[in-house]
Symmetry: C2
Subunit: 412 residues, 2 copies
């Protein structure tokens, strides 16, 4: 038995280096294999989901200069599985000749909620009313919060622009006393802040755009995401809100990709509130809200991400079926491995099961199930049935009684 060392002296021209080795890297590897493109991943551990299937692995932290340089030396383009990267370090790698896509500035904008809100607002893209506070004294932070409150009233939402403290990054504040507490703790922790209106969310949409360096771009149709306790549980194409809103969401998302000068795929999550459509989050990488594109669209987000960062023509984003549902597979309370539960899941007709090779833990995202078909309720029901068979807890509000008449999944 020999351990494999597939990238030898002669590095393939079209090899992609991925910083991070989570499930996004894993699914990029699957797409790269089909296209005949070599991949090397930078993994924190050899057992990471992407490292388990990547043709070559560098083990190291994403902000370790030695590891990043080793990765850059093994590929022609660097891209990302996550945004937890050191922008200055990437800039210096670029000065050394590495090609980094998306550009570190795009990553930085997506990572920094304050910067993102500021740049989108400047470009006339609708975002929640907000004040960017940054790292500020408790007094200055409170003043900014009070200023927004004078326009919008209470409650508001204070968010960490990056990171967070006490394991959290979002704090609803009801009044000045609440705000004062959050401002003090954040100031003590050195956490940069942004404060926003509390949006009354009717639904959440997501649009993923694939964009090349020359500005050409394609986007998949908008989907509706069902969030429970801050976690995306389900993705529906088409959403329930009609084609007009979906089209507007697509236009907004393509504008965001232009403002961000994205190369690769970029995901935009939007709030629907009354007749308002507001950008909530941006991620400059493949995104959970477009896993449905693997079977549900002519070209998946993973393939188009690779195409975009390699400056290859982008593929069609047309759906392959009238209705597609994706349900995330989460670890159940008993922590069973979904791989050991494949039998009942694969009995569900048309269930495309994706498991990421992660150690099962309650509530951890371990995979997803996609079902394509002609009927919206039917595909949701089948996707939930398979996800439940794999151990996923079913939130209240999702009816799996089998009638096909499943309720909305308790959107936040």
């Amino acid at each position: 038995v020999t351990a494999r060392e597939p990238i030898d002296g002669d590095t393939p021209i079209h090899s992609v280096g991925i910083v991070g080795a989570g499930q996004l890297a894993r699914m990029m590897c699957e797409a790269a294999s089909a296209l005949g493109i070599g991949v090397v991943v930078l993994a924190e551990a050899a057992g990471d989901p992407g490292a388990l299937v990547a043709p070559a692995v560098v083990v190291g932290a994403p902000d370790d200069p030695t590891a990043l340089r080793a990765l850059a030396g093994l590929c022609s383009v660097l891209t990302f599985d996550h945004e937890q990267v050191d922008v200055d370090l990437l800039r210096s790698l670029e000065h050394e000749g590495a090609v980094v896509r998306p550009d570190p500035a795009t990553l930085d904008m997506a990572v920094d909620k304050g910067e993102m809100r500021r740049r989108l607002a400047e470009a006339g893209i609708p975002v929640p009313a907000h004040r960017v506070i940054g790292k500020a004294s408790a007094t200055d932070a409170l003043a900014a919060i009070a200023d927004l409150a004078s326009d919008h009233g209470w409650p508001l939402v204070v968010k960490a622009a990056r990171g967070g403290y006490d394991g959290k990054g979002v704090w609803p504040v009801e009044d000045l006393a609440d705000a004062s507490r959050v401002a003090r703790r954040a100031s003590d922790a050195g956490t940069p802040l942004v404060v926003e209106e509390m949006v009354a969310i009717d639904a959440e949409l997501a649009v993923v755009v694939a964009r090349r360096a020359d500005g050409s771009a394609v986007s998949w149709p908008a989907v509706e995401t069902i969030q429970v306790d801050g976690l995306c549980r389900e993705v529906r194409y088409p959403g329930t809100l009609g084609p007009d809103l979906a089209r507007r969401a697509g236009e907004v998302a393509r504008s965001v990709a232009d403002v961000a000068e994205a190369v690769g795929v970029l995901a935009v999550e939007l709030f629907v509130s009354g007749d308002r459509l507001l950008v909530n989050e941006v991620a400059a990488r493949p995104h959970n809200s477009a896993h449905w594109t693997i079977e549900g669209a002519t070209t998946s987000q993973f393939e188009n991400h690779l195409r975009a960062v390699l400056d290859l023509p982008l593929g069609s984003t047309e759906p392959t079926a009238p209705c597609v549902a994706t349900v995330n597979v989460l670890g159940g309370a008993e922590g069973a491995d979904p791989v050991k539960r494949l039998v009942p899941a694969l009995r569900v007709p048309g269930a495309h099961v994706h498991l990421y090779g992660k150690a099962p833990r309650p509530g951890r995202k371990l995979g997803h199930v996609t079902v394509c078909g002609d009927d919206s309720d039917d595909v949701r029901l089948r996707a939930w049935t398979a996800a439940r068979a794999l151990g996923t807890p079913v939130p209240s509000g999702v009816d799996l009684s089998g009638s096909g008449a499943t309720a909305r999944g308790g959107a936040a």
Copy 2:
């Protein structure tokens, strides 16, 4: 940089070991990654297509007892990328506790044209008129050929039941003098023979069946294969010959899978000759004629092969589009690497490009392109256009003028 050794002490329960590391193993790896199933391949060389993407690799010959034992020790089920295996050695591994799927007897039947013809004929499955000669003296071989000629007249086709000599395995014979020459050379080389009627081939069909150990089976719809100079150049779903023949082909193929007691996928290639439908070849593994199922069917042959050998429920074989065409990517005369020609190929709308990571050589199968759509001529035209952009020589008879009216590709 560390070389990865992903299969450590604790071998995953659901790991599959693949004997051989060609493109079939590579595409099995892609399907296994999605399902969260570990794979280890036995590769002749670390640069084999499957070895380039497999999570773990054992380097060795498929008939090397040490290498096969190492492979068996790393997985829960052994399966195959090709049939060039040592059946006795596999039997002894089974006695040592290895699970081998398909059974070595199924592989053996598929490998041995004489045995295959005999068993299918015994089961009442239509095959070309033939005599099984085996390893025989020149005199006995000639007598058998003459015996078939007395029933069917000349010409006939003598085939090596296994292997061949002078790099060939098929010899058309026009008369006794031809037959005598072939009989003498085969006898000298120790090549076992079978002789068959020369079938007037109107078209060729292929059906792939996925079958579990309990006998439950599913099959993908019959496709028409376009062969040029003995090489499959193109696969069309649906074929041009109508649903009746396709249904009969499916019935025949499922009977073959039962006779062979297949576990995993089994491919049946059939001749259409007038109103006769005759089994030509059988392969007890994923097959080129079903690469279209990756995008063109709800479940691919690769995923269902894994499901079958792991005794998991089989997935739906329903097509995802009315028309699907797959064209093989062959190395051009100039030997250019198709990876370097991705730009024009990926410009073709809806072209799903698969490249196998093989060193380019003229005429070598380097990949395939699949296009799904509503119009039979249109999907063929697009698939051929992308394959040509990747360097594939276009046989005379295929019209890529762009009118959509492409001629039949010179079927043998």
